[in-house]
């Protein structure tokens, strides 16, 4: 092999190795960080599209409406729990330790991200609330369609 070809081979092969390494890394990192979105009913009965139920310990996002009168606080700390419901009637309980967003209210659509503790309980590390339908994530809006009568204390 002449030196020029040898150099080219070196460059090409190092490119190929680098590229496959990079792709492998990206896919690995992706796999670890994809969180599926569920509605409360989907957590209980399995996803609409695939019918697969989430496993205990799995990280996921759940979106639904906070059921009136279910927000309960621990008097000593910032621990709080509340129930989420969707338009098909499934109810799950979310536990959270921290400061709830400004726009968190009973009867409001929210999204929580966290780990599934038991079949119907989620330990959330993040709770997001949006201030009205215009800013509500489409998934939540879908899950809440036709539930307006429940929003008794919406301003």
């Amino acid at each position: 092999m002449n030196p020029r070809r040898k150099k080219r081979l070196l460059i090409t092969s190092s490119l190929v190795v680098g590229l496959s390494l990079a792709i492998g890394l990206v896919l690995f990192a992706l796999q670890q960080n994809i969180d599926l979105f569920y509605t409360p009913t989907e957590i209980i009965e399995g996803k609409n599209e695939t019918g697969v139920k989430p496993e205990i310990g799995q990280r996921l996002r759940v979106g639904g409406m906070v059921v009136n009168g279910t927000v309960s606080r621990d008097p000593e700390s910032l621990k709080v729990s509340f129930d989420l419901i969707d338009n098909r009637g499934g109810i799950v309980t979310v536990f959270f330790d921290g400061i709830l967003p400004d726009l968190f209210r009973e009867g409001q659509g929210i999204v929580a991200q966290g780990e599934l503790l038991t079949a119907t309980q989620i330990d959330a590390f993040e709770v997001l609330a949006k201030h009205d339908e215009e800013y509500m994530p489409p998934e939540v809006a879908e899950a809440l369609e036709g539930m307006d009568h429940l929003k008794s204390n919406k301003p």
């Binding site: 990206v26 599926l36 606080r73 998934e139």
Partner: protein, 650 residues
Amino acid sequence: MLAEIGQFTLVIACMLALLQTVYPLYGIYAREQRAIESAKVLTILQFFFVSLSLIILSYLFLVNDFTVGYIATNSNSALPWYYRLSAVWGAHEGSLLLWVFLLSLWSTAVAILSKRLPVESIARVLAVLGLLSLGFYLFVLLTSNPFLRTLPYFPVDGRDLNPLLQDIGLILHPPMLYMGYVGFSVAFAFAIAALMEGRLDSAWAKWSRPWTMAAWVFLTVGIALGSWWAYYELGWGGWWFWDPVENASFMPWIAGTALIHSLAVSEKRGVFKSWTVLLAISAFSLSLLGTFLVRSGILVSVHAFASDPARGLFILAFLILVIGGSLLLYAVQASKVKSRGRFQLLSRETMLLTNNILLIAALIVVLLGTLLPLVHKEIGLGSISIGEPFFNSMFTILVVPFALFLGVAPLVRWKRQSINELFKPLLHSLLITVVLTLVFLYSFASHFTWLALMGVFLGFWVLSATCYELYLRATHRFSLFKGLTKLGNSHWAMSIGHAGFAVMIIGITMTQNYDIERDVKLAVGDSIAFEHYDFHFDSIQNMDGQNYTSNAGVFTIKKDGKYVTTMKSEKRIYTVQRMPMTEAAIDAGFTRDLYIAMGEVLPDGAWAVRIYYKPFIRWIWFGPLMMGFAGIIMMMDRRYRVKKLVKEEA
């Protein structure tokens, strides 16, 4: 009446944009000098009419004309006048008007400042810009008209501007960011014009370099402003969330960064030319993609405006036309572009190529992370979100080779470089880096982490290699001080820009590794202590404003028993929308920020309070400011004569 005039001037501007596209190109085709020369006049006229339109809309906001639907939804008579003015771009319709206005502003700047370019080239560039303007005018007029009336039943008062947006950050952030986004259209137009002509030479790279740099400066500062705004306004104390819309602005920035580096090679060495053209096309296409993602409402984000399928469809079509058309032109014409320079494996060219490869890798990571949730949903696998850890870990990996090469690259010569000559400067830089890193971590780090060691090391590596290179260059022929004054603007720009990057890396590393976040329950009279600081909750104070009511928590901060400052953290309720807002109290400092945000009142009267200690967070924004400043210095380089021409115009 005024609103109708505003709409009318917009229609005129739209027609002028059409003329600006067609007539000069016809002139080039038919060799009619007057038609070619008309490009400039048409551009300036178009700018005049779109400015009129924007001024009218601003005026209508100022006088609270709630018969205009857009104003009724986004303003209120109780809003202070400066927020009424910034509300012009507070929502979808107005921000698009701002977009076309800025596009026209850039076009006009090109028309006026490019006197040294051949008339025909300028005509082509302006025609391409006209075509882009035309697309956006049609978008505004057909799908998002800000002048639509709500007659006959107009509201007595407006629904108010979203309280999050009532802030100095919003007055500045969108125009800056848009200047950057839109500015890449100039680089794009130069590239397309050059492709149409089939002539890509160093002159082309030289012309488009200052324009690209200007756009990049605006984008850099715009993104930094946005990050700063999010930090103090959202009340979470974060500075970057990998939110899809942040990513939408970050992608053109990465492409733009690759572009300014690749342009430097194209100008100085005449190589990588077709790659540079591709980057110019990508940078602007990514700006358009960003607009599409934000405006169509298909992405879930804090920035997402109310969605309307017609808008999404229009931008998607426009996007396909622009990207498809330019790539087609590229495919046909790029083979004509010949790169003449040769270079060896160890050379500045290879270093800049490495920079580009790493930047593109970063770009792909962001693109993947942003678009994958969309694809996942569309192919029926359900909604997903991609967590911050994905982006964070990918960028942590990518920054290592990036920063290592960044330190070396300026020391390497164009064309070829012997390894032996490189050995001494690198060894010296390495020694300085190790010492600085250890001293820095010993002084400021509360405990040891490998990531912090790596990040700080990389930051100081870039910093010391950059300074060492400056020193070598300055003392090459003269004494140090005389040598430093002899260095060209471009050289200073490179050094300052790279130093800015180093500062940012150190800031990010320290903030991410050593910040302390406490969510605590505090009643008046309680205190909490950490990191030598003692936070005492003194009282709750009423601080009502013009259009909100507010309760502020007053805190006294002591460090090791000595009084430092008093901080007032507000919880506001905006009266019109009944929307609560957190106004965090921040005590900013060179080496640390203290941050207090009020949560909610708990049933027993105590408050949920968020207290943060953020080391070196200011560096995260100071770095990009340095980069922006470096860009400005580079544009002032004698080679580009921008400064001189500006003077002539004045």
